[in-house]
Symmetry: C2
Subunit: 514 residues, 2 copies
């Protein structure tokens, strides 16, 4: 087979793998949006079958032979094709370490654990979830051993979500963040409460919330002809192809901003998926290099843009129009304060920017110990509650609002949480570069003109897909290796200004001006 | 491998095949309900990949070996297992005749043809569809030759939809129906118009239509915890498992009954799919024996029940409540007349019971000639228009309302249309047996009590799945082989009474009493 035929065969083969992933993703999307309740059990089996099948097809010798053949002539290939071979080979060799029977067993247990978790959380009964957590920890330890790792066993799992990251390094970063963020939270707690946010306590029509979110998504440049927004209990983004990238959100009649910011968050993910190159569609390259980078896109839009004053200067008139009579006396500055309230709380997904990473640290520490075998699953609730008290000063009233709050462990997704924090860090580091290139950005935001930002991200982040690693991407954009500096600068500038306490260190160029 | 292990392995294997079919069906459902427009091209590729993969997995030697092993000990198996082997072997041997490359090419062409057809119909431009129709006719002739047949080539394709049926026999049945139904239509045309149906010309709130349809579906016994109704341009039913059976419908603000009767139709299909035995789930047996039998269930509910006077006696009060002020002076008898208007028209899916089969005959005759090679695709419009004139006395103004109106040919689904007519025949024949067992049925319908009928169908039709052939099922239920007699008796009794002309032959037990 000559090189061009081999490349064509590879692309065709990968196209089928991606099609199968798309079908699996659709089963997942449907499960959380429209599936009738009694369909759950069958859906679990369908997901397990497709996972096993994807794995079998992706690890077939035929693909291995094609990759080996092309790897041998790597030097003759154009850089895109060479990258495609490298990235696919990386995935292939990793997948080959897991037997299909393991993949299917894991998928079946995921499905069972997910349904047990739903019930356990509803009833706040950790005992219902415990046997599944034990099983998934066991399977994940086994998985790590099959995959191989250096240092902590956790690294094997982290690699799935944040290639190249190491738990040992994360510990250091997280410790720095914990120390500095705790300081900020303390400063805020010591400032007198300034804003009267009583106006938030109204009923907010959910259809109007929906309409506003669609308008924002449209303004961001999310192509709603190649995507859609639906409702689900837990917001998420999923992609079946760069021409079909969907998000979900939820609205609550007693919360005006939760659903809107959630749409912005998922919209950021969706812009990434819609921004891959058409020529990369149905290949390994039409993905982000890591979940942290993916999360940087959602958090950049949700937090840096969506929790800025210029953003609400632009959207307050639309809010007033959609909620007539409810916001006449509220100023943009008050909305800005409302979406940036800082208060240690129980639930990660509702946490403010200053406390968010503290929630992540708790999960990270527990996961590392579970994987190392230093902590048994049955002790998770008590360890959780202790850590919540020590990091956040919060008493956990029940497991539903404690260690049962997140879906991740029911999917056996150990190693996932740190990518949220990395997303925060990457977002700020990328955004400093945005501001250098687009000095008028905040004026554009205030004018409701988001396409320059989207196009900048498309150019510098999205279109690369998996061509660059997370670290290389951030380094090339910002000129420095990924680190916590930009994020802490952003937080300190924003919150010292918002809450009127001196920024610990003088900085220039605040990320989000008042 | 001992027999029990082989049976277990077979069931596990078939479960995976059915899971893959479920994923494919979900891709199809989503394509017609929620998929954003730009997702169409990628969806076509995904559907082709999954079709090819299903075929490869279903025709794998491993399954063949299992089936051969079990077929050898067929006599020792319990009747259900023996039937499972028989039916799976039948499918397997048939599937083996088609190479995977053919299956994929067909699926890819289906997708292209479908999108071309949408455009062609929108613009009423047959030329846009013609090359695809030519291609699909060519592929279908090839398909027939690969599958093998006796008599007309059409029989090979008919077998997919109505196993055991032969075009030569259908010709006779359809000729009888054409002759008798034309007579009825003539009699009706000669009766003076009696009812003033001007009240139909109102705007009917679509949300209210939707609510009524959900109520009817609920009353029929359709389990909405194991199913759901969505909107689509063309109503259909799809099943991912007996616990997840979905229907779609559409509403029009200027039509009160079209959407409701469509819900009843699809609801009849859905009850069938929900009525399979749980132990048959994810096996070959959890399907109907033929599309004709499937269609008998939808038509029994839509036409025999849903176009009866007792049905509207029950639902008129609900309609009055949902459409306040719009139906105060309308009597149940007038609704009954409204849903049973007879008038030769252009569009099959909107045709009344008396003319419906005439639409089918036209398609059947064209398909047979296309497959035999006696008619070229380019001549379809002129032949179509001639036949519309001769069978229905109708002039076709354009191809959008002529030979481009149905989706079937864009799927290469030649051989499908006659199953609609067979569904009509089977429905009446089955319904005569229903009335013998449930002499109070019409009173129950008038009381809104549909569960006795649903349960009768579940017992005598649904639960058998594929255990009985269409012909055996109808024969066992009715005591006679399938035929046109019951349907003609039903039509003549109903319409002679409705339109006040003498029934050609005196019958007892009219299917739907006034």
């Amino acid at each position: 087979m000559n090189v061009n035929s081999a490349l064509r065969a590879l692309r065709e083969y990968l196209g089928q793998v991606e099609d199968l992933h798309a079908a699996t993703s659709l089963l997942g999307w449907d499960q959380q949006t429209y599936m009738p309740p009694k369909g759950a059990e069958a859906r679990g089996l369908q997901l397990a079958t497709l996972s096993g099948l994807s794995h079998r097809i992706f690890t077939a010798r035929k693909l291995g032979a094609l990759l080996a053949r092309l790897h041998d002539v790597r030097e003759q290939l154009d850089p895109d094709d060479a990258k495609l071979i490298d990235e696919t080979l990386y995935d292939y060799e990793r997948a080959k370490r897991l037997p299909e029977s393991f993949v299917k067993e894991f998928a079946e247990e995921q499905s069972k654990a997910f349904h047990a978790w739903i019930k356990a959380r509803q009833q706040s009964d950790f005992g219902l979830f415990l046997p599944h957590l034990e099983k998934l920890v066991g399977l994940s330890r086994w998985r790590a051993d099959l995959l191989g790792f250096e240092g902590l066993r956790y690294n094997a799992l982290l690699e799935d979500y944040e290639r190249g990251a190491r738990a040992e390094d994360l510990r250091g970063v997280l410790a720095t963040l914990a120390a500095r963020q705790s300081e900020i939270v303390k400063c805020i707690a010591q400032t007198p409460v300034r804003a009267d946010l009583g106006w938030l306590n109204q009923q907010w029509d959910e259809a109007a919330q929906w309409a506003v979110s669609i308008q924002i998504l449209h303004d961001m440049g999310y192509d709603l002809e190649a995507g859609r927004q639906d409702r689900s209990a837990h917001p998420f983004t999923t992609s079946f192809h760069l021409n079909d990238v969907r998000i979900t959100t939820r609205t609550h009649s007693d919360q005006l901003f939760s659903g809107l910011l959630s749409s912005l968050h998922e919209g950021g993910h969706a812009l990434y998926e819609q921004g891959f190159l058409a020529k990369d569609a149905r290949t390994t390259l039409a993905h982000g290099p890591s979940l942290g980078i993916h999360e940087s896109q959602s958090r950049l839009w949700e937090n840096i843009v969506g929790r800025s004053l210029p953003f609400w200067r632009h959207y307050l008139p639309l809010l007033r129009e959609r909620f007539p009579g409810q916001l006449e006396t509220v100023a943009a500055e008050e909305v800005y304060e409302a979406v940036n309230q800082v208060k240690p709380s129980l639930i990660r997904v509702e946490a403010d920017e200053c406390t968010y990473n503290l929630h992540v640290i708790i999960r990270f520490e527990i996961e590392v110990e579970l994987l190392e075998g230093n902590l048994v699953a049955g002790d998770v609730p008590s360890v959780w509650n202790e850590k919540m008290k020590s990091y956040l000063g919060v008493d956990v009233p029940d497991d539903a609002r404690g260690c049962l709050q997140d879906v991740h462990w029911s999917h056996g997704a150990f190693g996932y949480f740190p990518t949220y924090t990395l997303g925060n860090l990457y977002a700020s580091q990328i955004f400093e570069a945005v501001l250098k290139d687009l000095p008028d950005l905040w004026q554009q935001v205030e004018n409701g003109s988001f396409l320059p930002l989207r196009d900048w991200l498309r150019e510098h982040v999205h279109r690369h897909g998996r061509r660059k690693t997370a670290a290389d991407l951030v380094r090339e954009i910002s000129g420095t290796p990924p680190g916590a500096g930009p994020y802490l600068r952003y937080l300190e500038a924003k919150y010292s200004s918002l809450y009127g306490f001196p920024a610990p260190i003088k900085r220039k160029a605040p990320a989000s001006p008042r």
